[in-house]
Symmetry: C2
Subunit: 442 residues, 2 copies
């Protein structure tokens, strides 16, 4: 089954209709996020690499046509789709850059049927990756100097989502992932400790700890809360001291009051001469819990952050849209209540005064940088970056964000302005639309 | 890259350690959901088919070992994993059945290293599918007699998630999906209308409607809110009346006050003699909105339900766990605060008095049915069901749920009891554990 079926049926029906009518005019669609979810002061662009992989060489193949017949599409519609392939041009915000509402993550310019076909999967790939990169960035921010490890695999919304989460969290500064397949695929550092089941499979907790240190002397993280955390720490200290692996070992606390337990464990470790043994915490953590632990001064060296980050628990979706902004050189907009769009191909100009959304052909105002770059031409990728490029870009943009936008609780997003030219175009198109004879009620 | 790397690193480290130590004893792990998310009166088991596909023939292959070396695993660990393959037995709750907290969705019995390896991906596949089937069931419930269509593809957490959503929502009674690939893969009915971009690509809304009815006379759903909904309905009526497709056409409202607009549109359609033209509504809907529209008597024939259902917006994760409950014939449990588990392989007995979680070897109490069935033996699937089987099972269980559990707002889940035997075992194991000399603090 080809990529061309990774779409909503209405894209295919519209594409077929456009082609049957000879409507081959060039269209520009703008993919952007309408509004920030609650508790977000910024978003982080992510998912472009996968989106371009999907678009590159996208075509309706013969077996796709056969599949569509099986699904009951009529022959004129199937015929209308024959030979359709993506030949367009794409501009986009590179991965790792911060992004704000209304700023196009990506713009597609292509014959309208081709651009329409791609809507569903482009939205799918960019929306979740951007949502989760943004959530992960907040976790990394909240953790301060402590390392943060992606522990989300087991409860992400499927296996593909787990890969996206590992990659997105690495871009925003997570130091490792528990996900072996993702570590392999994206060149990340894999990280792993032990589970309660390991402890339970031995006659005693001490036996389990001895066995684990014996097998992993260079990297033993002992999980201390299977029965009772205080006793677990005592057992861990006994084994770590006995084997002399103190500076390479850690304990992991996965339940209870992490601040209290970490303080107690730190005192016990220090008293046993194990100042080099680290404390690792996990268990239902998110940026709010991390911020509280940091504020409480909990002596925790690293965190495993899983489910809440991996599904972006408090904002599992973003209000992403893919809107037609120009057709055959004519800027267009819709007026639906609460969902109006602004016309024309865009560019984002980023400078010390904040972001300005302008039209693509505008010259960047002095001291600003154009954020969207060309990434695809003639239906082929022209842009490919490493994860490290995206990481560096994130760090640079992240440093520029005002403190208010970086707050974990009640952040205030930076303002985004519309350029005078973009504004004038929106007004002109709006006035022309309300003059249309078939829409007298607007 | 093989399936064996679709796991957390700690599973591999534990598995290698078990094998290096000759710990080949049979373990039973129980996968269950600890507690219902808020606003859930029941869950719907889903994801088993994909989970069994993953487990069937699961093995660590030579190229997996090579990949692990690349990732920096030491030679004894890699050696410890060589030749590992899943040979276990699995019992599970078939898809479509309702399920409650503590009831095992699935239990794996296998040499401990094999069962441990499978933890991450089994949790991954069952957790999201069950979460979203449960959310979709609530939407279907709230819609009453109106049909509900899956519109989630564009904003699910990746492409795989979109497939899971289409399948899960079909099991709980959604009538169609917008997702063409999923329709093809699972034999579902695809459904599609038009987007605002279609309307914008024509000189006028009337032109767009005429073109669409011309191309899709048997199934034209006209989107009426691109400029102004009332005018859009007037334009739709003009075209539908003119072309005589009234009984095969529909209008779609995607924004604004759906109850008010649907009532107005219904009156306008009826006045124009188009009583057979249906009204389709969409736009940010979830079970709460559907319940409100139904209560308001909005004359809506079918709904497209997308993002909120597809990411299970108000409960994007469930508290699923995979706990060792027996090892080498010895029942085990952990005592971590707030996370204690109950020992022993389980069965769920379902009867008119509600569910009882007992031990697997117990005889079903009179009038009850054992809900878990054997699904895999010797590492091979022995169970395969059609989507229609799952659908029928859902309808049967759904009918049995008490009204209070089926309420959309503030549902009350049915009680779940622990059998006397399971309870006695938990008490005995707990007492034995707190007598362990290395856990005096419990």
């Amino acid at each position: 089954m080809g990529r061309a079926l990774l779409t909503d049926l209405y894209e295919l029906r519209m594409a077929a209709s456009f082609r049957r009518r000879g409507m081959a005019g060039e269209a520009t669609f703008s993919l952007f996020i309408r509004a920030l979810p609650p508790q977000r002061g910024f978003l982080v662009a992510c998912g472009l690499d996968a989106a371009l992989d999907y678009l590159d060489g996208l075509a309706v193949e013969d077996d796709d046509l056969a599949a569509l017949r099986t699904l009951g599409l009529d022959e004129p519609t199937v015929d209308g789709l024959a030979g359709l392939r993506f030949t367009g041009e794409v501009w986009a915000i590179p991965e790792g850059r911060t992004v704000l509402p209304g700023e196009p993550l990506l713009e597609v310019t292509a014959p309208i049927a081709e651009a329409q076909l791609a809507e569903t999967f482009l939205l799918n790939q960019l929306s979740f990756a951007t949502a989760v990169a943004s959530k992960a960035a907040r976790c990394r921010l909240a953790a301060g100097d402590a390392g943060v490890v992606d522990f989300a695999f087991r409860r992400t919304q499927g296996g593909e989502a787990a890969m996206t989460v590992a990659r997105a969290s690495a871009i925003v500064g997570f130091v490792a992932t528990s996900n072996v397949a993702a570590a392999r695929r994206f060149g990340l550092r894999p990280s792993g400790t032990m589970a309660h089941s390991y402890v339970l499979a031995f006659p005693t907790e001490l036996d389990a700890f001895r066995a684990f240190v014996d097998d992993y002397p260079d990297n033993a993280v002992l999980l201390v809360d299977t029965f009772d955390t205080r006793t677990g720490v005592e057992n861990a200290i006994a084994v770590i001291a006995d084997t002399g692996v103190g500076d390479r070992a850690a304990i992991r606390i996965d339940s209870g009051d992490l601040a209290v337990l970490a303080n107690e464990a730190r005192r016990m470790l220090d008293a046993a001469g194990l100042a080099g043994t680290q404390i690792f915490a996990s268990g239902g953590l998110d940026e709010y819990a991390l911020a509280d632990l940091r504020e409480a001064g909990a002596p925790i060296d690293a965190y495993g952050v899983g489910t809440h980050m991996g599904v972006s628990e408090d904002a599992p979706s973003v209000e992403s849209v893919y809107k037609l902004v120009a057709y055959e050189g004519r800027p267009v907009m819709k007026l639906s209540p609460g969902k109006a769009s602004t016309p024309g191909a865009k560019q984002v100009f980023r400078g010390p005064g904040g972001d300005v959304i302008g039209l693509r052909h505008e010259h960047p105002p002095a001291g600003t940088e154009a954020v969207l770059v060309p990434v695809m031409r003639g239906g082929r990728r022209t842009h490919r970056e490493s994860l490290d490029d995206a990481r560096r870009r994130f760090e640079a943009d992240f440093d520029l964000l005002p403190d208010a936008a970086r707050r974990v609780r009640d952040p205030v997003p930076p303002p985004v302005a519309l350029s005078a030219e973009a504004n004038a175009l929106a007004t002109a198109v709006h006035e022309k639309l309300i003059g249309r004879t078939d829409t007298p009620g607007v």
